[in-house]
Symmetry: C2
Subunit: 333 residues, 2 copies
């Protein structure tokens, strides 16, 4: 390690001004004279100065850091989200702390507790927290939720309208002649899962088809085997899976059991994550605008963090649409 890094004091000494002036020259354009500012800037460059985030955070109260909290970093659903938040946050000058709670409510609370004071805000993706905790935390730290509508209007949220897409999928399958359709559900703690379930059962009534709810299953490929077996067992002709990962697992299992897709069973996923068009048969799925969701979440947070006129934006709901590929087809008669 080289000698200790240059501090603002070093810069000030080198340019022959007071520390306070150096600070202003670097951060408050127009607050010092042109000539002085230039001297300070030069000195800073020569010394390779860059401000200490800790010092700055301590005195100004702003850390220029945002935490993104996700339940499972291995889930490609969140890759898209991460990309979206990352690009916007960087544009806004914020650093990006990534936290994986591994689907644990305790880990989520622990994270919030420990980051509360060290970040300016939090993006909570697919939070497993209950309403009450959510409200409590949102009073403590600027927060935006993603795919978790907010009970009170105290904090902005962005939700992806996957239920709407799921209903589209149901209509698609119905029009292909399917009459009994399974829904392979996700974790019970998932708010999204509840919404989808409700939307599907009500749409099923309207369409005059039967929806068989299976699960809950972990939103992972491995869980697909059990789901596929349940699908076969239940005798439905089509299945809509909680997410694409589960759908992938179902496809694998059906193939290994010799059940042909879509001839015998149609399979539809949710999200359109990386890989949905690679698998064979390629997966019919409800496309969720993941990166865009990340953008909106970051934008909302940044708006509420604006030092001059912070504003809490209106909740955003992003539409989805069905992408029809090879894994869905006419019901076997």
């Amino acid at each position: 390690m080289a000698e200790r890094a240059a501090t603002l004091r070093d810069v000030a000494e080198r340019s022959g001004v007071a520390v306070s002036t150096a600070s202003r020259a670097l951060t408050k354009p127009g607050r010092v004279s042109e000539a002085t500012a230039q001297r300070v800037l030069d000195a800073a460059r020569e010394l390779g100065y860059s401000a200490s985030a800790a010092g700055r955070a301590l005195s100004s109260g702003r850390t220029w850091t945002v935490a993104l909290v996700v339940p499972d970093i291995a889930n490609p659903f969140f890759f898209g989200v991460i990309r979206g938040t990352q690009s916007r946050l960087r544009e806004g000058g914020y650093a990006h702390v990534l936290v994986d709670t591994e689907e644990s409510v305790e880990a989520e609370e622990r994270t919030l507790r420990s980051f509360r004071r060290s970040v300016d805000g939090v993006i909570l993706a697919a939070s497993r927290l209950d309403d009450e905790s959510l409200v409590a935390w949102s009073a403590d730290v600027p927060m935006v939720t993603l795919n978790r509508a907010f009970p009170a209007l105290t904090c902005p949220s962005v939700v992806i309208d996957t239920p709407g897409g799921a209903v589209q999928a149901l209509e698609h399958l119905t029009s292909l002649g399917h009459r009994r359709i399974a829904y392979a559900g996700g974790p019970r703690t998932s708010w999204s899962d509840g919404r989808r379930r409700a939307a599907l059962t009500s749409a099923a009534d309207r369409l005059g088809v039967e929806v068989v709810v299976l699960g809950p299953y972990a939103p992972q490929r491995e869980a697909g085997s059990a789901a596929a077996d349940a699908v076969v067992q239940s005798g439905v002709t089509a299945v809509l899976a909680f997410n694409d990962l589960l759908a992938f697992g179902i496809l694998e299992r059906l193939e290994s059991r010799g059940v042909r897709v879509p001839d015998e069973v149609s399979v539809v996923g949710c999200d359109d994550v990386f890989g949905a068009d690679l698998v064979r048969p390629s997966l019919t799925t409800v496309r969720a605008p993941l990166e865009k969701a990340g953008h909106h979440a970051a934008d909302l947070l940044l708006a509420s963090l604006d030092p001059v006129h912070p504003r809490i934006g209106a909740p955003v709901e992003l539409p989805t649409h069905l992408v029809v590929r090879e894994s869905s087809g006419p019901a076997r008669s």
Copy 2:
């Protein structure tokens, strides 16, 4: 936002001790008496106290934060790595800042400059920096490189032996009767690409086969079209791609051109990222232990950051092996 968060001073007052004692009670086990420690702990809990990272960083010089710098956050190669580093860093009590440089050398340097003072260390994955800059930066900030061997032994590194795996792939193809084999290369700035190229040409000599180097191509699916066309044009019977993403693109393009895989052309990828076993035909590929690589990188960094006896670990080279699936087969005769 609620009233301001509790500080150490609040905790000290509530428990009737000095600030210094409160600090020690919370961070130096054994340094204060059992009874006092308990009082402080209780007070802290009652107030919902959690230490300010900024204050702590400023006085102790440690931020308990590590930056992970990747060239492209959209590349699933790095998902595995991120998971690996994330889990180890969290165990070690470190927070995880994620930075995407978008393959830009300038962004990489800018990142290092701005984070130098605000993180305890950096994991530099697939750095595009030249040797000289790398050495210079490693003197400034504790650093571990991933898939970028280090010129001097000043900083630990972990490299994945993909060249070894690529040679295995070449042998596999040779034993299947292929005599002219293409290598669809990656970005010229990629250190890994250079290594693979060298390993392949020397192995080709030994095996008595011809390797046709194509490219460079961007390590992305979209680049696969051009690569596939070049493959067809060159008249080889097999192609080894720089990474799986490129291989996916090649498979897609070959399929749409009506070239059968593996009957007419065998395709082999590198990395075995998420999706390699989903695509049809499933991809024969060189499996890189991504998560393990992340583990090692984090472990090495943590070891060099150890406050009591920091040690710079020996460079780690992780073996790879070929996973044979459906996309490779006997050469057409």
